[in-house]
Every structure is written in C-alpha cells, then in structure tokens.
Amino acid sequence: MKLRSRHLLALEGMSKDEITLILDTAETLKEILARPIRIVPTLRGVGVVNLFYEASTRTRISFELAEKRLSAEVVNFSASTSSVKKGETLKDTVRNIEAMKIDMVVVRHQASGVPYFLTQCMKASIINAGDGAHEHPTQGLLDVFTVREKYKRIKGLKVVIVGDIKHSRVARSDIWGFTALGADVSVCGPTTMLPLEIEKMGVKAYSDLDQALEGADVVNVLRIQLERQRGSLLPSLREYSNKFGITRDRLNRLNQNFTIMHPGPINRGVEITPEVADGPHSVILDQVTNGVAVRMAVLYLLSGGEGKVE
C-alpha cells in the first residue's frame, strides 16, 4: 500500500486505504514522542521549507516539530501576502526555493489552490498546511486520528461540525476525511455560513443546533472568526453565542461517551464555554499532540522517492 500522490493537497478524493495508512503510521510514530530522545534520523538530509503566507502559530510549530523529530533540515519562510503582492510573485519565490534544492514544501496561503499551483512549478513534494477556505488536510487527518484513537473506529459514528462552514478549510477536510472512513457527518451553522449545495459533499446541514446534536458522538466546534464579519454574515457574536454556542446544557442531547473537539485557537465564551472546552469530554489538547504524530506520518510517507535515484 502506498499513497497515490507524492503531494498532500486535499483529503477530497483520498481513499479509505490511503487515509488509514497515514493514521496507522501516525499511531506507530506517536510512540517516538514518548521516548527519552524524541528524535529519529529518518529524514536526515531532507530539506523542508515551511512556506507560510498567513499567520499561524500552532500549525507551523506542529509541522516544525514533526520535521525536526524526523531529523529533516528545516527552513522557515514567512511572508505577509501584502508585501509579497507588491514585490516578488509567488512563482518567483517558489523558483528560488526550488533552486535551493529543497525536497518538501509545507505551504499555507490565504488563496485556495496555491498548493496545487506549487506542484505545477516545482519538483518538491507539496504539503498543504491550509489554503484559503479550501482544505487543511493534516488538521482533518489529526481530527480523524484523535477520534479513531478514542473509539477504535470511525464507521457509524455521528460527527457534527458546528460554526462558519462557508469559510472553514477545517470543515471541508474533516468532511472528506470522516466520510471516507464511513462516519455520518453533519454540519451546523447560521444559514449565512452554510455554503451552497454543501449537502453534495455527503453531509446533512442544519441551522438548529439541538437538532444537529441529537444522538451525536463527536462535536467539532469551529472558531468563529471575528475578522470575517464584514458582509454582515452575523449580526453579533452575542447572538451567535446564544444560538450556536456549545454550552453544558446542550450536551445532554449527545450520546454517552461523547467527544468535544476544537481546532483552536478557542474564543472562550463565544463558540464554546470554558467548562465544556476544559471538560472531561474535551480532546482539544490530544488533538494538538496527535497533530505532531500525524504530520510526522505525512512527512515520512511523502519523503520517499519518485524523482530520486534508486
């Protein structure tokens, strides 16, 4: 079994077997994180650039740790798009990186499709660390991983994603990842934040939170982005919180042994109350730990050879 592509651009179109291979590998690699020396020499000599066009703390650190624990050579390149827009084009930047003999590029950008664009102009393996509102495949994988670790299965679980579905790349990757492994996925959010024809992605869409939560096993609470309020998708955060906030009262609709997830960073008291976020059913910090293992698995599986000497 191997991955069909040497890039990780999206979970859309990935088979159950491919996702399972990544998760199984991550499970094995997670053990390294418990060793006295949390580093293995696997990717020695492999050059990885973290190309971040959008501010990110946790994803970048998580990737960087994953790379370092596999002994890759890591270079960080952060740029605000505003300055890049004025100066060098993305293509020129990428060509420069290519000229430095880099093997893998981890890229985050606020425009959808940039990781694909990179595959068209360089030879390195490209890993999408979030492109616009398109996908964030490693987040999707770590979410599936965390749920699988707890329940030992994905098939048949009822997963609800709550929040601004329209602008969320996490929602999209989660939808593809969980549905590929047989979960029953719903999305829930204000009607202005549910994109057109979302049901065609194989999910049910709700605007009534209680209805969506009925009988659910996993609730993934998305961050409500304060900066996206232009265009009046929401009258106020207060109103959002009242209608869609995950509070303790609402949890009794869930199945026993339910799970609360959040990709972070949390707006405490807006989309989720602190007592739920920090409660016994929350796996929010496990997600962070698992993020490193999942990213190590992705790096490992994509580091092999096409284009290299046999």
Binding site: E12, K85, T89, A111, G113, V114, A133, L196
Partner: protein, 437 residues
Amino acid sequence: MNNYEKEKGVVSEFDLAIVGGRVIDPESKTDRIADIFIRDGVIKRIEKPKSKLGAKETIDAKEMIVVPGLIDMHTHLREPGREDEETIYTGSCAAVAGGFTSVCCMPNTHPPIDNQETVKFVYEKAKQAKCKVYPIGCITKNQMGEELTEIYDLVQAGVVAISDDGKPVSDPQVMRNALEYCRMFDLPVISHCEDLNLSGSGVMHEGFVSTSLGMSGIPSVAEEIMVARDIKLAEFTKAHLHIAHVSTEGSVELIRQAKKRGIKVTCEATPHHFSLTHEIIRTFDTNAKVNPPLRSKKDVEAIKKGLADGTIDCIATDHAPHSIEEKDVEFDFAPCGMVGLETALGLVVTELIEKKILSWSQAIAKLTINPAKILNLNGGRIKKNFPADITIIHPKTLWVVDPTKFQSKSKNSPFGKKRLRGKVFCTIVGGEVRSRE
C-alpha cells in the same frame, strides 16, 4: 482549380472569385452552392456554379462553407494602454485568423474611449489593421459610473454603441439617463450586468464547485438582478438595451420574457459560456477565470436553449487578452478574461452545430447579420453591392487548439489541447484575402 481564366476570350472583369462553395447568407435565407464575384471590394455578382465569368484570382471553395464575414461585437483590443497584451494590429490578426472581418472594441482601455480623441486614435490605428475595427464608447466618463460621456461627440466620431463593459453602471439613475439620451441617436447601450455588492470578492460561480474549493462565489443573482433592472429601464425609456455576455439561466429567462413583452432588448453569449462549466476551475486554471464566471451545467444548457430559440441574438467572444505574468499567479489574484477570437468558430461548430443546437444558418446569423443589425453596421450579408467581407470555412476539419500558435499577443485560453471541428480556411476583408490557411 481555375477553369475560368483558361477559357479563351473571357476578360477578367472581377478581382476575386469564390467558386463552388456552399454559400450561406442568413438574411436572404440563402443556402446553396454558388459562385461569388468581387470587384473593388464589393460583391458584384452571385451566380449559379460554373458560370463563365472570370476573375484575376479565384478561390476554390469546394466542400467549404462561404458565409458573410464574421463580426465580433465584443472584443478587448487593449490599445491604448496595454500594448503588451494586445494591440489593435495584433488583435486584428487574431480576428482574421478566427474568421472575423469586423470587431467592435470595448472602451476599457487606458485611457478609456470616453472622448472623441481616443475614438479617432482607434480609427487611425485601425487603418493598419487586418480587419475592420469599430470602437464602442464609454457610457460614463472614465467608466466611473457617474457622469455621462459626451455621447453625441462620440457618435460623431463613429462609435457604434456605448458600454462601460468590465464594470456595471451601478447607479440606476445614470443608466436611465444613458438609455434615454441614446434613444436620440438610435444607439444601443451595452450593459455589463453585475451587482458589485452581490459579486463582492467572488472569483468564480457560486455553487457546488466554489463550495468544495472554498472559493468566494459570484452568485447568479448578482447578474440577474441587474438584467432585471436594465430591462425595466429599457421598457421605461423605450431605448435599445443590449446585454453583454449573458451567463445564467435566470438572465436568459428574464430576456425571453422581456422580448415577449416587446421591449427593445437584445443580448449576446460568449463561446466559453456555452462550452465550459465551473467544473474546469477544479484545476485552478486561471485562464478559466472570467467575468461573468463560468457557470453550472444547468446555466450552460439554458444558454444553448436561449441561442436555439432566438432569445440570445448574438455570439460574441469577449476576447480579453492578459499577459502570462498576470495570469500565472494565485487564482484569487489573477485578472478575469480569456482570449477567444481564434477559438470562437471552432467552438460554435463543435458545441452548437455538431450537437444540433443550431443550424449553420442560425449560427452564422448570430455571428454576422444579427450584430450588424444591432450596431447598424454595413455588413453581415452576402449580397450584391455589399462590402466583400467574406469568411470561408472548412466545416469538417478537426484541429487541436494550441494557444502558443495564436496570432493574438496573449495566450490566455483554457482550450489548449481541445479538439475542435470547423476551421477558418480564408478570411476576406473588403475583397482582399487577409488570412488564408
């Protein structure tokens, strides 16, 4: 083969003869094998085959289709201002290569065609062009949507219509005034229908593809709301409204109903809007980023139906050249537009004629006589004493689109590698062969 000159004693009283071809002239409902004789740039005789007339030069059009020179009523030639992307000359080369003998150039140049001087500049440059070039003037000064241009001045200088294409006229009062004012000159007002508040930061059609790619969408209603508004204004002002690049099912239906009510509204559709859907954006090809965006399958079907039932009068390219540097960027940042002059006819034949949506005569009408009538151009006909603007088409030839071979200065076409049927064999402008395979 030229049998005519070999005939003893026959004087070549004509400059050019096109013989043996199937002549289709939609206006006169002609569709028969005939020989055409041209002198001094004018069609002089249309004869039954094997006539004894002779000409200095003869084109054998056997198995070809001979039609009036194609007219593109919606072209961006970029000159003045962006001569790196296209000039009036290179655009005209692309036009004749694509079978067009006339193009109408949109005024969103730098500076825009919003004054007599710029109109004169275009006409001056057009003297060197391979095809006829008719400028369209701006509706508002600098296309700002605020003050009307000196429309009478523009008419005097020879504009054939006015439009702020590329931008809508957002203020309905300004649009009302433009329509009302133009009624004096019997001048069509070409409307780019887009509500900018609704299209917002959208970069593609809002639908399942934008949902799965996470791209901001331009909803169909952003176009339809302004189509509806402009139809109401046309009804109210009794002026001639022409709606550019119709792209949605709803727009087609609004125009269909308006025509039924006798409102003076005409419209056009582009080849890309009847050949491509938003699915192509899944490859993030910035050459497929256009405005209005490529829509859903349902919309494409509606455009085809609108073409078939006559709701859509014309096929126009919206030829919009952009440099590689501008297009080879993140999808969100790429400018809108694709070149279209050199693929239009192939797409019409492949997508409409071969698929029995339109007959040859219907299709050719939308590329010739219909735009000619809308813009009051002296052309679009194969008729005695009319200008000898003629396009000869090889209807069966199968060819593969190769943008690198385009005459246009820009290569931004998403149709690269596509196989098309129907190729231009020869383009004749004013009796002169301007392009020949």
